[in-house]
C-alpha cells in the first residue's frame, strides 16, 4: 500500500476566528451592541421569535432562569464532572428562604433575603456534599436525586412552610420609576412604535415581566464573569484534573475532595440565587414548582448544550427553556416533541451543541490516530 498523504486542513476563518482578529475597541463595541440587543429583545417583539400565546417578557425571564441554573449546574457537572440529578433542591431552597424571610415568618425586603438565600443554599450544598461526595459516579446521581425529592416532599409536609399551599405575597424586588419605554408593534408587517404598550424602567410590577428579565440578565452577566474568573484560576484547573482522573489528581497534590465540595457548594449557591430570583418574580411559590422533572430538564440543558463549555450550556438552556414555550401551538404534543428533540440531539451531537474546546481537541487527536493506524499492518 502506498503512503497516503494526510489531508491538509484548509484554514477557513470561521466566525470566531474573524471576531478574535478584530481590534479590542471593535470587540468592545460588538459586545455592547449585543448586550443592548439582549436588553431590547422583549421590546422589539421580533416576529417569529416572539411567543404569540404567552407573554414574551415572562418567557424570556423563564429562559434566563434556565440559563442561570444551567451555568450553576455546569460548574458541578461540566467542570467538576459530578452527576447531580437533584439540583432543583437548591433552587427550591433559594426560593423558600426568600419566601420564609420576606412573607411567611418575617417581612424582610427581597434584596435582603436574597443573600441569605444564596448562603443557605451554599451551606446545604456543603451539608449534602460533605458525606456524599465520597461515593462516586452514578451513586452520586441517585443520592442527589434522593436529595431533590427529600426537599420537595419536606416542603409539602411541613406545616411551618405552609405545606402544599405554598407561600404567597412574596415582595417584589425594589425598583425606581424613571421613564417609560415603548415597544414595537409588527402587526402591520413593518415595525411601528407602539406608544400604548410601554414598559416602565424599572418598576417590578405584576403584569409586566420585562423588568424581571432585565434583572435576570444583569445577574447572568455577573455570574458569567465570576464563572470565567474561577474557571481560569487554580480552582478551575484543579476541577479539570479531578474530572479527568481523580486518582492522578490526588497524587499530584490536588485535594480533590475539597475541590469537589467547592464545586458542589458554588453550584448550589447559584441554584439558590436562581430560586430567589424566581420567587421574587412569581410572588407565589409552592412545592409544585420544584418537581423532579425540573432537575432532569436542567441536566438536559447542560448536557445538550455541551457540558463544560459555558456558551454551549447557555445555548442548551435556551433550547430547553425556550422551545417548549415557543411551540405552544403543539400544545399537548410539546413534551413528546421535546423528547424526540432530546433523542435526536443526543444521537447527532453526542458532544453537545457546542462542545468544550478540549473535547473537540481530543476528538481531532483520536481521528488523527485512527488515520495513522489505518496505514499500519495488523499488529
Amino acid at each position: 500500500m502506498s503512503t497516503s498523504t494526510t489531508p491538509t486542513r484548509t484554514s477557513r476563518p470561521d466566525f470566531k476566528g474573524r471576531v478574535s482578529g478584530l481590534p479590542t475597541s471593535a470587540k468592545i463595541v460588538l459586545w455592547a451592541l449585543f448586550a443592548v440587543f439582549l436588553f431590547a429583545l422583549p421590546l422589539l417583539n421580533i416576529p417569529f421569535i416572539t411567543t404569540a400565546d404567552s407573554d414574551f417578557g415572562g418567557v424570556l425571564f423563564t429562559v434566563s432562569t434556565y440559563v442561570l441554573v444551567a451555568l450553576g449546574l455546569n460548574i458541578v457537572v461540566g467542570y467538576a464532572g459530578l452527576l447531580d440529578l437533584g439540583y432543583v433542591g437548591f433552587y427550591a431552597i433559594g426560593a423558600y428562604v426568600v419566601g420564609v424571610l420576606s412573607s411567611q415568618h418575617a417581612s424582610l425586603p427581597w434584596l435582603v433575603a436574597v443573600p441569605v438565600a444564596i448562603g443557605v443554599a451554599m451551606i446545604s450544598g456543603v451539608i449534602l456534599g460533605a458525606p456524599t461526595l465520597r461515593v462516586r459516579g452514578d451513586y452520586l446521581a441517585i443520592v442527589t436525586l434522593g436529595f431533590g425529592e427529600i426537599v420537595r416532599l419536606s416542603l409539602i409536609n411541613s406545616q411551618w412552610l405552609n405545606g402544599a399551599q405554598g407561600i404567597s405575597n412574596i415582595p417584589r424586588p425594589p425598583g425606581v420609576t424613571l421613564f417609560e419605554l415603548p415597544s414595537l408593534d409588527w402587526s402591520s408587517g413593518a415595525p411601528v412604535v407602539d406608544l400604548d404598550n410601554t414598559t416602565t424602567f424599572i418598576k417590578f410590577g405584576i403584569g409586566d415581566f420585562i423588568p424581571y428579565y432585565w434583572l435576570a440578565l444583569v445577574v447572568i452577566g455577573l455570574v458569567l464573569l465570576f464563572d470565567i474568573l474561577v474557571k481560569n484560576s487554580r480552582v478551575g484547573r484543579a476541577w479539570e484534573a479531578t474530572r479527568e482522573d481523580e486518582d492522578a489528581a490526588e497524587l499530584m497534590g490536588v485535594p480533590t475532595f475539597r475541590f469537589k465540595l467547592l464545586a458542589f457548594s458554588l453550584g448550589a449557591a447559584i441554584g439558590g440565587l436562581s430560586g430567589a430570583l424566581f420567587a421574587g418574580k412569581a410572588g407565589f411559590i409552592s412545592p409544585d414548582n420544584f418537581i423532579l422533572l425540573l432537575s432532569i430538564l436542567f441536566l438536559a440543558a447542560v448536557v445538550v448544550g455541551g457540558a463544560g463549555n459555558r456558551w454551549g450550556v447557555i445555548v442548551g438552556a435556551i433550547v430547553v427553556g425556550y422551545f417548549p414555550e415557543r411551540f405552544r401551538e403543539f400544545a399537548e404534543f410539546r413534551v413528546l416533541v421535546f423528547g424526540l428533540a432530546l433523542m435526536l440531539l443526543a444521537i447527532f451531537r453526542p458532544q453537545g451543541i457546542l462542545p468544550p474546546r478540549r473535547a473537540r481537541r481530543v476528538r481531532r487527536a483520536d481521528e488523527r490516530e485512527e488515520h495513522i493506524e489505518e496505514g499500519l499492518p495488523d499488529a
Binding site: 461515593v135 434522593g146 433523542m343 435526536l344 453526542p350
Partner: protein, 329 residues
C-alpha cells in the same frame, strides 16, 4: 409506635408485596447497568407499557369477577404473556433506537442518559396521548374503551377477588398477597439460574466483567446487550402484572415514581448485582411501610430516600456490593 406494633403483620405483608415489585423492576436497571455501565432511564416506561398490555388483554377477552378458577388462571397467564411480550419489545426497541446509535459513535456516557430521558418522554407521552394518536388514524371510535381518558387512571377489570387465606395477628393474608410475593421470588430464582447456568447468561456475565476480553473470546457483544434489555423488559412485564393485581390500576405516568423507587432499590442492594436487586427491593418496600407507620404516610418517600443516603454513606457500593460479573449471580 403503637400503630406500628398493632399493624406489624399488615405492614410487613404489604411491604413485601410492593418490595417484590420494586425488585423485579430493579432487575432491569441492574442488568443494563452491569453490562453497559449506564442508567437506563427509560426502563420505567417499559414497565408502564407492560401494565397497559396486561389491562388491555383482560378487556379484550372480557375478564369478569365471577370466573371459575380455571378461567382466572387462564386470564392471569394471558396477562403475563401480553405484559412480558410488550415490555420485552419496548425494551429492545429502546436499545435499538436510543442506545445503539450512541454506542456506534462512542458517545460520552452522560449523553446516553439524555437520550434515554428523551425516549422516556416520547414513550410516556405517546401513551398519554393515545386518544389523539388513534384519532389521526380514525380509530378512536373503534378503540374507544382502550384509548378513552388517556390521561387518567386505567383500572384493571377485577378478575380475582382477594380472599383471606390465613391470618397473622388479625391481618388476613390474601391469596393475591401470597401470589405476588411467591411469584416474584420464583421469577428471581429463575433469572438467577438463567444467568448463572445458561450459555447466554455466561455471555452476559462475561461482558459485564470485561467487554473487550469477552469480545476476544467470541462473545457477540451486541447480541448480549440485546438479550440483556430483553430479559430486563420481560421482568418489568412480570412486575407490571404483579403490580396490577396488588394495586389495581395504571396510568401513562405510573412508571416515573416507580422507576425512581426501583432504581433506588437497585442501588441500595448494590447495582449490577441480581441478588442485590432482590434484597434492595424488599428492604425498600419494608422500610417504606414501617417508616410511614412511624412518622406518617406523607413521609413515606422521604423515609425511602433517607434510608438510601444513610446506607450509601456506610456501604458506598450498596448492601451486597456491585458487579454482575463477580458475584456468581
Amino acid at each position: 409506635m403503637q400503630f406500628l406494633i398493632d399493624n406489624f403483620a399488615a405492614l410487613t405483608v404489604t411491604g413485601l408485596a410492593i418490595g417484590a415489585v420494586y425488585s423485579l423492576i430493579a432487575l432491569g436497571y441492574t442488568f443494563v447497568y452491569g453490562v453497559l455501565r449506564l442508567i437506563n432511564f427509560a426502563h420505567s416506561e417499559v414497565f408502564m407499557y407492560g401494565s397497559f398490555a396486561a389491562v388491555w388483554v383482560v378487556m379484550v377477552i372480557g375478564g369478569h369477577p365471577g370466573g371459575s378458577i380455571g378461567q382466572v388462571i387462564f386470564w392471569v397467564a394471558l396477562m403475563f404473556v401480553a405484559a412480558m411480550a410488550m415490555s420485552g419489545l419496548v425494551a429492545v426497541l429502546i436499545e435499538r433506537v436510543a442506545y445503539r446509535p450512541l454506542r456506534k459513535r462512542n458517545a460520552p456516557p452522560l449523553i446516553a442518559l439524555i437520550s434515554a430521558i428523551g425516549a422516556s418522554f416520547v414513550l410516556s407521552e405517546t401513551m398519554g396521548l393515545r386518544e389523539k394518536i388513534a384519532g389521526w388514524f380514525g380509530l378512536d371510535d373503534t378503540l374507544r374503551p382502550y384509548v378513552n381518558n388517556s390521561r387518567n387512571n386505567v383500572p384493571l377489570p377485577s378478575i380475582i377477588k382477594p380472599q383471606g387465606v390465613f391470618s397473622i395477628q388479625g391481618y388476613e393474608v390474601t391469596n393475591v398477597d401470597i401470589f405476588v410475593i411467591v411469584g416474584a421470588i420464583a421469577m428471581m430464582i429463575m433469572l438467577d439460574q438463567f444467568v448463572s447456568r445458561s450459555r447466554l447468561g455466561r455471555g452476559i456475565r462475561a461482558v459485564a466483567m470485561d467487554p473487550e476480553a469477552a469480545a476476544l473470546m467470541g462473545v457477540n457483544r451486541d447480541r448480549v446487550i440485546r438479550v440483556t434489555f430483553l430479559v430486563g423488559g420481560v421482568m418489568a412485564g412480570a412486575a407490571a402484572v404483579f403490580y396490577l393485581l396488588k394495586i389495581g390500576s395504571t396510568r401513562y405516568d405510573v412508571g416515573f415514581i416507580l422507576g425512581v423507587k426501583a432504581f433506588t432499590a437497585a442501588v441500595l442492594g448494590g447495582i449490577g448485582n441480581l441478588r442485590g436487586a432482590l434484597l434492595g427491593g424488599i428492604v425498600l418496600g419494608l422500610a417504606e411501610n414501617y417508616g410511614s407507620a412511624l412518622v406518617g404516610t406523607e413521609w413515606k418517600d422521604v423515609v425511602a430516600f433517607v434510608l438510601l443516603v444513610v446506607i450509601l454513606l456506610f456501604r458506598p457500593t450498596g448492601l451486597l456490593g456491585e458487579s454482575l460479573g463477580k458475584a456468581r449471580a
